[in-house]
């Protein structure tokens, strides 16, 4: 069985990561920003899995499970904050909540 070269996995991960980063920077809707962060985190997870398979170790996959767990925790707090944001500002646009400057 032909194996996938490590470079391919890392390059795919890098492309996903770039998409996520651009999403965080360009999007102004808080939902899409959280989604973009998820894409970045999963790209890092993919990089871990490919690196783990290169060395034949389970470590990469274990890190991926950690990343999933942490992403879930982060999103649960993120969603709670989104509810608060909506109640205070009646919009999901993050630019609306930018009162502190200087």
């Amino acid at each position: 069985m032909a194996t996938v070269p490590i470079e391919h996995g890392l390059i795919l991960a890098a492309i996903l990561f770039a998409i996520g980063t651009i999403g965080v920077i360009v999007r102004r809707n808080i939902f899409f920003m959280l989604l973009s962060i998820e894409i970045m985190l999963n790209a890092a997870g993919l990089a871990f899995v490919s690196a783990g398979s290169l060395w034949g170790q389970p470590d990469g996959q274990i890190m991926f499970i950690f990343i999933l767990t942490m992403a879930a925790a982060e999103v649960s707090i993120g969603l709670a904050l989104i509810i608060q944001l909506y109640q205070r500002y009646h919009t999901l646009d993050v630019d609306a909540s930018s009162e502190m400057r200087g």
């Binding site: 890392l10 965080v24 990469g60 890190m63 990343i67 982060e74 904050l81 993050v94």
Partner: protein, 480 residues
């Protein structure tokens, strides 16, 4: 896992156990005083177990964590700082209408995250520690959620911290793909593997620096700092400035303990550039602020820049200097934010520079504490900040880092301006219209004792630093 492993991890286990005890206590009997008491008891218990951990050190506990003198010292520092933050929070949240008890639960968890960070010797432990710390902080920053600015600060922190965590993880994955192990020793392995620079490794380190730079609020990753400092409740701002940054700084000291950073010139120069930018930009931006919390935010950026000089120097003296600087900086920052906390409650924070005008004539005690903190931040005698700066500068002189030292001197001179601007306004005669000036609750017993101890520490360390330096060199030197 045998008995000595458990003994080595006892401080962290007690802290984790405390969080479980507190959550059960809240479920069955919701009482503010009881929760605070349990939190403080858990922290004291954890602190008292440090000698047991010290008796079995140095010990690698599973591949993830290492317990040695350095770990014990920094866990002790983190615990003491969190203890003070709990004491400061007591009055701040006493009259809060919502559920007040979970705040302390989150504070314990954040402390645990920082404790794991300083003990970690593996990327998995690094990641878990930093996430336990930051996820707790998201909730802590937005804790008094009826205020829009808290929510705003927390969302800004959440988005940026989430994105930089992804950078950190991607960097770890790239380093792993070159080094073949997630342990911190992979750095040594990867560096010996490729003396000519490996591109994947360089990108990985670059991404790691983004993550670390964000957590330490170094220029150019400092954008979140002023907003989060201003928006977070004052005790939590103190916590972000001390425990969260101290944990990460102890971690990078350990990460680069096997391959000294000056043996990797490209990395050394990146960190040197970051240090110079942080020192200069932090101090210059602080000049333009009219909000005391934002001034302290920019001041913390420049202080982390000073600290990087110790990190970039060689020898154990530099490690001791960094540890002492952290102690001095923690005590000073806590005293500063302690005063702001005492003048605020969860609804109204006294943060406008104008409203501090004439503080001395109404609250002489608080004004004197604040003056001591500002003197120490500016690095003037007799204060801990001066001694810390001398130690850091001495470490820099030993390694002949002249460029960094010149910047240190210039930045300190700029810093004196804005610290003095605050200090002068403390002693000016109060304004005629009293409305928007100080109307804070009267000082509680706990608050005044805490502040008194802190100010004694700040001045005491400036006059007689030998005992603390003795503890530091006994724990850190020879055992690292």
């Amino acid at each position: 896992m045998n008995a000595s492993d458990l003994l080595a991890l006892l401080p962290l286990i007690i802290l984790a156990g405390t969080s479980v005890v507190v959550i059960i206590a809240i479920a069955f009997y919701r009482n503010y005083r009881l929760t605070v008491f349990l939190t403080l008891a858990g922290m004291v218990g954890s602190f008292l177990s440090l000698p047991f951990a010290l008796s079995v050190q140095p010990r690698q506990v599973t591949p993830l964590l290492i317990v040695d003198g350095t770990t014990v010292f920094y866990i002790g520092l983190v615990l003491t700082t969190s203890f003070v933050v709990v004491l400061l929070s007591y009055q701040y949240f006493r009259d809060y209408d919502g559920n007040r008890e979970e705040y302390y639960l989150l504070l314990i968890l954040a402390t645990l995250g920082s404790g794991v960070l300083v003990a970690s010797n593996h990327f998995a432990a690094f990641f878990l520690g930093i996430e336990v710390l930051s996820v707790s902080l998201y909730a802590l920053i937005a804790y008094p959620r009826y205020d829009r600015r808290r929510v705003e600060a927390s969302i800004k922190y959440l988005i940026l911290a989430g994105a930089t965590s992804a950078f950190l993880l991607f960097g770890m994955a790239l380093i792993y793909s070159v080094g073949g192990t997630l342990e911190f020793s992979s750095l040594a392995k990867a560096a010996s593997l490729s003396p000519g620079m490996n591109n994947v490794l360089l990108i990985g380190w670059g991404m790691l620096i983004v993550g670390i730079g964000f957590k330490l609020a170094l220029v150019p990753f400092h954008m979140w700092t002023p907003d989060v400092y201003q928006g977070a409740p004052a005790p939590i701002t103190g916590f972000v400035a001390t425990v969260s940054k101290g944990g990460v700084f102890a971690l990078i000291l350990r990460y680069f303990s096997q391959v000294p950073i000056y043996d990797v010139p490209s990395l050394w120069w990146v960190f040197a550039a970051i240090a110079i930018a942080s020192m200069l930009l932090g101090n210059m931006l602080a000049l333009m602020q009219t909000n005391v919390k934002r001034v302290l935010a920019y001041s913390s950026i420049s202080h982390l820049g000073y600290l990087l000089i110790a990190f970039l120097s060689r020898g154990t003296e530099a490690q001791n200097a960094a540890a002492f600087y952290l102690v001095a900086y923690f005590a000073t920052t806590l005293a500063g934010f302690g005063v702001i906390t005492m003048l605020s409650d969860h609804e109204n924070e006294l943060e406008d520079l104008d409203s501090y005008r004439g503080l001395f004539w109404k609250r002489p005690g608080l004004a004197l504490v604040f003056s001591a903190a500002l003197l120490s931040l500016a690095g003037l005698p007799p204060s801990a900040g001066l001694v810390g700066k001398i130690f850091v500068a001495a470490a820099g002189v030993n390694s002949a880092l002249w460029l960094l030292l010149i910047v240190l001197v210039i930045a300190s001179v700029i810093g004196v301006f804005y610290y003095f601007r605050i200090m002068i306004s403390l002693y000016r005669s109060p304004e005629a219209d009293e409305e928007r000036t100080i109307s804070a609750p009267s000082l509680s017993m706990i608050g005044s004792v805490t502040l008194a101890v802190l100010v004694l520490l700040v001045v005491g360390l400036g006059i007689y630093p030998a005992p603390v330096m003795g503890i530091i060199s006994r724990l850190i030197t020879g055992l690292s």
